[in-house]
């Protein structure tokens, strides 16, 4: 599965995209897995209320299932316009 990071999440984790082999069944599971990896992940995901998530390019919630997902992206609230 491709995991993408944008804006300060990308900066804090230190890369825009990585390929992850995971058996996580929900976004939350994936987040827990990532936080356990390294301190920079733990820091980036410390406050989930400051983050948004998209699964296969659709905004969703942290309890969304990951079955069949090809791409998960984490980023701060959007500031377009």
């Amino acid at each position: 599965m491709d995991v993408l990071y944008f804006a300060w999440v990308r900066e804090r984790i230190g890369l825009p995209k990585e390929r992850i082999e995971t058996s996580a069944t929900t976004v939350s599971d994936l987040v827990a897995e990532l936080r356990a990896r390294e301190e920079r992940y733990d820091a980036a995901f410390a406050d989930l209320t400051a983050l948004r998530v998209a699964v296969d390019q659709e905004l969703t919630d942290f309890d969304a299932p990951l079955a069949g997902a090809r791409e998960v992206a984490f980023f701060p609230p959007m500031t377009g316009g």
């Binding site: 944008f6 998209a54 390019q57 980023f75 701060p76 609230p77 959007m78 500031t79 377009g80 316009g81």
Partner: protein, 146 residues
């Protein structure tokens, strides 16, 4: 193509002209242009986006507007990359038989685009400091109007 996400500048006047041309069936055209405000010692405004999702999200927002209001046409252009104060970041345009629809749809497009399209702004200051722009509660709250 009603949606364009691009790093190149766009010609706002020419886009307005083109959008309002040949519309004998539409009585009202509303356009909105977003401009980089040179607050404080802002030197540049960097816009990051999520290629692929951005186009999809903007297309869905435009489609939502079309379903809700009687519109003849919709246009959304949004830049990414490095911009300087005074440059135009983005524009939306709506055409409708009557003005109320054109105004409301443009207002709606802007509210959704602000908080639901995957763009992030970073301010680069003249003193080389930089900071991600925080989302405003009032922008999120604005969505409840629709």
């Amino acid at each position: 193509m009603p949606v364009s996400v691009q790093d190149a500048p766009f010609d706002y006047g020419a886009e307005c002209e083109r959008f309002a041309s040949g519309r004998a069936d539409m009585g009202a055209v509303v356009t909105f242009a977003g401009i980089v405000r040179g607050d404080g010692d802002l030197a540049r405004m960097e816009i990051e986006h999520y290629p692929g999702m951005t186009e999809k999200a903007l297309g869905e927002i435009a489609e939502k507007a079309r379903r809700r209001w009687s519109l003849g046409d919709v246009l959304v252009i949004h830049r990414y990359g490095m911009l300087t104060p005074g440059e135009r970041i983005m524009m939306v345009a709506t055409a409708a038989p009557h003005r109320r629809n054109a105004f409301e749809a443009a207002d709606f497009l802007m509210d959704y685009l602000k908080s639901r399209a995957p763009f992030w702004k970073k301010e680069h200051m003249a003193d080389r400091g930089e900071a991600w722009v925080a989302a405003k509660d009032e922008d999120e709250d604005a969505l409840s109007r629709w």
